[in-house]
Structures are given as C-alpha cells and as structure tokens.
Assembly symmetry: C2
Homo-oligomer: 429 residues x 2
C-alpha cells in the first residue's frame, strides 16, 4: 500500500534560498505527482517579520511562530533555509522528533551537529537530507552516498567557495591584487559585507567537514579542519606560479591515509592542466578519487537562489518518494567508522616559498644547508636580483613533513641574510 | 519490518565488466552490511564456456545455463553485463518476471528496448537500474533522476565516447591525421578491432538516447538520434578551427525546444573556453542545463573494468537498500511525457564550411549571393590562396535551418568555380 495524501511542506526562512524553493515548488507543481506519485504544496512559511507582505505569496501561509508549524501534524516535510546554528538546530530537532522529514541547506549546522541530527533522524526513521549544504546546486552528496558507494574513496578535492574562486580568478586573469579583486566581488554581490567566512576559508572548511564525513564514513567536524584563507596571496605570487605552469586555487582537501584523515582548506599551487585549474569565476567543483572509479569531477554553480533551491527540491522529491513508498530514513548517517583526524604538523606537504635575501655569494648554500638539515629537498628554484643588495628566491620543495618544514622556516626567521619570508603556499600533488 | 536475509547476486557475463563487478563485490564484502543493512554474496556467474577455470572464482558458482539462475528463487539481483540485444533482453525480461531486481550496463539494449523493460520492472515492482549504461563510472542517471528532479532540463551535451575523444585529442595536440590516431588508439586498446560503432557515433548515439529520455521525460530511442562520425575530420580542419579559438569534439547533444526534441551526435566546433573543451583523452563528461541549476557538468572515466563496475556496484547497493526497506521499484521509468523528435532538417545550426574555389575576382560575391538567397549569413570568413588558380575559403555561418543550408550546399555542388566542399562541420552554440 502506497501513501497517497497531498504532501505539505513548510519552509523555514524566506531569504534568497527560501524564495527560490517556494518559486520552484510552484513551477513544478504539475510535475511533482508524475515524478513522485504524490502531489505537494507549500503549507507554511516561517519568517521573522510576518507583517510584511511578500510578492505573490498568500499571506495565510506566513507565520513567525515555529510552534504553529511544529504542532501541525498535516505538515510532512520541513525545509530549513534560515542558516546559522540556532534556532535552526532546535527547529530541526523538534521537527524530526515530531515525525516530520527535514531538508536543510545549512552547512554551518551540518558541519558541527550533523552527527547528532542524523542519528536522531535515524532513530525516528525520518529523512534528513542536506544536498544543498555543499556546493549549492551541484549533485555531490547523493552521488557519493549512492552512485559511488561501491568505492573506497581516498581523496576529495573541492573548490567549494565561489567568492574566493572569483577573487583568485580575477587576480590570475587580470593581474589584480587581492584587495581590488575583493572590492569587485563585493560590488557584484559575490562577497558579503563581512567577507571573513569566505576569504579565511571557514565556509569551505564547513563544506569539507560534511564531504569528508560522507567520503570516509567517519565523522569529521568543522573543528577538525585546518583552515587558511587567501588574504596573503599577492599578484606577485600568482605571476611566479604561472611561470611554473601552475595556478593558485583555494582547495578544500581531505584524504584518508593509512593512519587517519587529513582535512584542510588552503590556497594551493595546482598544475594548470588539472581539471580543477580551469574551474573559474564563481563556479565550484568537487574532485573525487575512489579505488574503482579512479577520478571523477562534479562541476556547477555553488551558490545562488535557484541552484541552491534546485538541490533542496531534489531532496524534497526524494522525501516525497520515501513517504510514498513508506521507506523514510532509507539512507541516513553513513559514518560507520571512527578514524582519527591528523594534525597539520603530521601531514606531508610540498611548499612554494618566496624569500627576500641578501644578494651575495654563499646565501643559497646557507639556505640549502638549513633545509637539508631539516630533511627538506628543493625541487625547483629561481633567483632574481631585485635591487642593489637584495635578491628574491623562489623555490618549490619536495614532499616533507609539515613540522620539519616549519622548523626550517623558524631558523630562516633568525638569519640576518634573510630579510623576509614573503610567501609560503602549499603545492598540490 | 525490514528484510534481513543475505542478498544473493547473479552476474550474467564474465568479461571485463563482469570480472570487475565480481572483484568489487569481494572487496566491499564487509562494508556492504554497514552501507545497506544487508549482507550480499555472488551466488552464480553465467558464462559461455563453463568448463574453463577462472582465477580465484569458485567453480561451483559458474554455470552456462541461465535457466538455473532463473529457477533459483534465492537469487534477488541479476547483474547483466553481457552486452548486445539478445539474449540479454530475454534474460532481463524473465528475471524481472520472476521477481528479481536487475542491474544492467547494456546501452545497446536500453537505448532500444528501455521503455518496454522499465515498464515491466514497474509492473513487477522491481528495480531495473542502468547507471553503468551511460558514461561508465560517472554518476549521471541517478543525479538527473533525483538531484536535478526539481529542474526543467532543456539541454544535455555529452562527450560520451572515449575512443573518439582520444582520437580527436591526439589530432588536436599532436597534429595527427585520423587514421594515425585511430591506429594508436587501437594499439593502446582504446579502439576495438572493428571501430565502426565508436568512430561513426553509434555508441554515443545509444548513450544519448538514454540520457535524453531521462532528461526530457519522454522516450527517445537510438533510431531517433541522428549520428555522424569523425572519419572525415582532417588535421587541416583542426588547424583552422584552432585559429578560430575552437576545438573539435564528438558531441552528443539533445535539446528540448518548444516544438520537440532534437537529438544528434556529430563532430562539432566548441569554443576552447567551454568546460567540455578541456575534457581530453579517454575521459567523458556530460554537461546539463536546467532552469534552476543553470549549468552543471559530470566528468570522469567513461569506460574500463572498475569505473564501469563502480556504477554497477552503486546500483546493486541501491537495489539492496530497496529490498531492505521493502520499497523495490522506488524510482522507475520517468518518461511521463510524449514529445515528438524533430528531424535534423528542421533544426537550427551554425556551420563551419571549407571550400576549394577558383581564385578569381567575383567568386566570393557569387558564393555570398547563393548563401543569401537561402537565408544563410556568414559570421566569420578567411580566404587563403593555395596555388596558381585555386584558393581555400573557410567560413562560419550564422544560425540557419539545416534544410536551407543544405539547399545552398546543393547549389555550390553545381557551380564550376567551386572545386570541392572539403569539410562541413556544425558549430556548437
């Protein structure tokens, strides 16, 4: 026996994404039954200011009291698109406890409390779907949980923040400095008034925590992710890097190594021929390596009203199918392992290093000897005189333990012949 | 109440992909229960020659009689990886009728008889999953049926044949002629002894029929797809095209226009900046445009033992979840519309045309006048003298009805001043 009632959906939050979900629900009204076997309607919309009228939306749907939605047993699915930890966490918890399925776009919440919420959804036999929380409209969570479920996934590399990718694209293609590119991104609405979460890598770090948890079947939270932003990247770095056949991208990387999970967000040198290197402007992409599939990449718009609403709609439709077939909670938390997360110091890395040094014989020998003592091999090196007494040294190291490299760097900082460590950027390999 | 028995899987065919599925089933044995709630085992393997021993495979699993598998009620899932229309069609039909779920990698079959088989699966309330039939390991069918289900998809563009993509990549990067690149592909095992299905675009056409049916919710079969191959593409074409900032790719394109579906496979000029232009060697990619998601792309390995087996395993795991949750047939045929498929002559196209003409004043005027009479505007034109009395004319037209362009071409063929129509390639826009 299949369920056949009309599915009633409540939307929590009516900002950019909430409005997009509402619009798509209207646009697809006639097709939903063909796709899922059930009809659906938006039953309630939770807003902060219930008094304000909203273009084309029946005022009777609007409420500023979550309790009304919670108490309404006719509501099957709650779509949380408010963002932030509270009150979203409480609302989702209460919705699940009252037997509603939940769709959320909330990366902040899922990156920190995903485990607790998914476990609650599992025990209630309800769906908690969150495709929109990572990389906007790009299908990535469901492909990993289903299509790639036959793989042992060992690596995920993502360009999952559109703001920083736009800034780095402008710096690369137009030679802009960071501050000018940021100003342009702000003007175009790609960067928020306070861009910290984007430019410092926190936003990407949240998405990586979610992706890594799914890929490696072991819970990774935002706290586990080492984050570095792009504020220190200069046009000069990008010029040097280009000469070396590379680009700089803000990469969210997670690896499962034999002795634990590595998870970090940082600007990185990437060979220009790598598929991720041509992901430009506000586009996002996630690159996945598995033992059977080898390399796969998922590319598209990582933000925006309709791309994000597209992901929410896919989840709503899946919830509806599960209600129709009475199989709610069909795919829940997939973290059945418990792996340690390694500290950054333990990871192996390659580095791009730019130094201002005294221009005299023997300097390079000194630097090389310090590096050698700490186990750092130099793979590529360029020296350019700058002015009278000063030269610029640009080098790329071989793979080395981060802790050892930092020790060498510490020694550099105490050396008179080294005027400045201008930049230090990891190299993807 | 959840099902809790051990799921028994039969593999039909033990070639490249069959062996891959078997290997992956062994590799993932311990994780399957964590992922699906159920354990699974390979119960039978159907082969042509049951006498031959197979490395690491228990001889008791091997049979050359499908009837044994069909009669075995303990077998839940049949994985068909034999290829070809018969006996695969009969076996799948009988398996579904006897209540087994089916996973298939068979594009030949699904592109022609997909509708009939999915309809049977639906009426039996069983799964018929076929992710591996298009683009090997790349998740594309499930993302379209689920993640992008909130979209109205209007266009699909795929590079879905690795052999031809390898050949075109060699021609582009190394300046090879078609025959040399084909020879190299054959040597590397990327092309079959009889490469017709690949180089003539039939293989890509079958995959496009499957993709278009899913994207537009209306059945498109292989017969509906116009196919042209890459055998006539020359190194000279590729040189000219490069000068114009483009590459040539064998594109499988399907569009839903207001008055029907367009579906064709052909070599096409593509701007070098388009994400598909940098999909090289044997890699495949599918580009999807929907009203909510805008552009998205799925990239990876379109063939090979483990990539293809990866897609089959994803389907097996989904079948297992559906058995566990008693929701078999949860997502079946999604063709709920019935749209006409347009003939090629009705479509609007742009063309790249290379002509050998008499090198004298007035020739261009004559050619332009013929084109004008048939409604063809020229957007870009280069003329190069070749020898004494002859010149080469390369032009790109504006968008025009294919039938009108063909009429102009017919007139060219009757004109003395036009020695030869050297190439005619459509231009993506």
């Amino acid at each position: 026996m299949r369920e056949s009632r009309i599915i009633r959906v409540a939307i929590l939050g009516f900002g950019t994404v909430g409005r997009g979900v509402y619009d798509l629900m209207q646009r697809r009204e006639n097709e939903l039954e063909e796709k899922t076997g059930l009809r659906a309607q938006v039953a309630r919309i939770l807003v902060r200011d219930a008094g304000r009228s909203r273009d084309g939306v029946d005022q009777a749907l609007i409420t500023d009291r979550f309790e009304e939605i919670l108490a309404d047993d006719s509501i099957d699915i709650v779509v949380e698109v408010m963002g932030g930890i509270e009150p979203a966490r409480t609302y989702i918890t209460e919705a699940l406890k009252s037997g509603k399925s939940v769709v959320t776009a909330n990366k902040d919440l899922m990156a920190v409390h995903g485990g607790e919420l998914l476990s609650l959804a599992g025990s209630m036999e309800r769906d908690l779907l969150f495709e929109a929380s990572v990389a906007g409209g790009i299908p990535i969570i469901r492909p990993m949980k289903q299509c790639l479920a036959g793989n042992h996934i060992t690596e995920i590399i993502g360009i999952v923040n559109g703001t920083t990718n736009y800034i780095l694209t402008r710096m690369t293609q137009d030679g802009m400095e960071f501050s000018d590119a940021l100003a342009q991104a702000t003007e175009l609405g790609y960067a928020e008034a306070d861009p910290t979460a984007d430019v410092e890598g926190y936003d990407a770090g949240r998405k990586l925590a979610i992706l890594a948890s799914i890929a490696f079947h072991s819970r990774v939270t935002f706290d586990d992710v080492h984050t570095e932003g792009i504020t220190k990247i200069s046009a000069a770095d990008i010029r040097y890097v280009k000469e070396m056949g590379c680009v700089i991208k803000l990469l969210a990387i997670a690896r499962e190594t034999g002795d634990g999970i590595e998870a970090s967000v940082q600007p990185m040198l990437l060979p220009a021929a790598h598929p991720l290197a041509s992901v430009n402007d506000v586009f996002n992409a996630v690159f996945v390596h598995g033992d059977a599939i080898d390399d796969a990449m998922f590319y598209g718009r990582g933000a925006g009203r309709y791309p994000t609403a597209s992901a929410c709609m896919g989840d709503i439709i899946d919830c509806m199918r599960n209600i129709h077939f009475r199989c709610m909670g069909r795919i829940g938390c997939s973290c059945y392992r418990s792996l340690p997360v390694k500290s950054m110091e333990e990871t192996m890395q390659r580095y791009f290093l730019r130094l201002q040094v005294e221009d005299k014989p023997g300097v390079l020998a000194c630097i090389a000897s310090v590096m050698g003592r700490h186990g750092v091999s130099v793979k590529q090196m360029v020296q350019k005189p700058i002015q009278n007494n000063s030269a610029e040294l640009v080098l790329i190291s071989d793979s080395v333990r981060e802790a050892d490299f930092c020790d060498a760097l510490e020694e550099f900082r105490g050396m008179d012949m080294i005027y400045e460590v201008s930049s230090l950027i990891r190299v993807y390999e």
